[in-house]
Symmetry: C2
Subunit: 133 residues, 2 copies
DNA sequence: CAGTATCCTCGGAGATACTG
DNA sequence: CAGTATCTCCGAGGATACTG
């Protein structure tokens, strides 16, 4: 039995309610590209271009904005080298590293079970269309 | 050192790329209300009204749609009792239960560190406004 | 009580072009 | 190479009203 909202709230009443600061942080992490960017940085420094390639499908705008959010959160460190051509490296701070470890189980679960879920959704669709409606 | 995209891809090449099914599942879980609804159900059955109250701020529309997505995914079971007044109960399936356990570390981390992050964001704002720009 | 049905808004997100 | 700057749009999400 995993930890529920109710249980969490016996420890910290009012946590994760609408105006609770935890909501902001949770929103950053679960933003469209948040988990993927964190996962890309999880085992070390990456350059901008590497991130663009690793986080497949992300636009430059969203990569920049996701990184800036995490930088402001103190989860990611940005290091720019004044060279030509420019080089910029991103890495997790100790705090970001902790977070990356906290989402690892989620990633593992997704990899392990995505297949059954997608298959199931497809068959629900199929059944749905063959029934009334 | 947490597990990175690169490491995951040595195990499953191409995983979590743009068209990979895992992306769909990850999107469901990290949808705006996904984590909170799962957390609310994590230690047992809940009625519709209980969920509305526990997941503070969610609209009826989003609660319905989040629950239907998870039901189609096989993560949540919906049980309706033909009574007057109506009663409907939602609970996690075994698969959903596994997922709830996988996101528990994330929730724990958020609760433990939200404070420092929000404080930091606030001070970044302050510093930002006092500097050039 | 447990939902639908509608209408509407807002901003997340994409596409494209440009720059130091 | 590593980003900004704009423009645009779609649809996730919200508000409100209604119903079996």
């Amino acid at each position: 039995m995993a930890v529920s909202l109710q249980v969490l709230r016996t420890r910290s009443p009012g946590v994760l309610t609408a105006l609770c600061p935890t909501r902001v942080v949770l929103d950053h992490v679960t933003s469209k590209w948040g988990v993927l960017v964190l996962a890309a940085l999880a085992d070390g420094t990456r350059r901008w271009g590497e991130l663009r390639r690793e986080v497949d499908g992300i636009s430059e705008k969203m990569l920049a904005s996701t990184l800036r959010t995490f930088e402001a959160d103190g989860l990611v460190e940005r290091r720019a080298y004044p060279e030509i051509p420019p080089r910029v490296e991103y890495s997790l701070t100790p705090l970001g590293d902790e977070l990356a470890e906290a989402i690892a189980p989620l990633l593992d679960w997704v990899l392990a079970h995505a297949g059954e879920i997608v298959d199931r959704d497809a068959s629900v669709q199929t059944r749905g269309s063959s029934v009334s409606r």
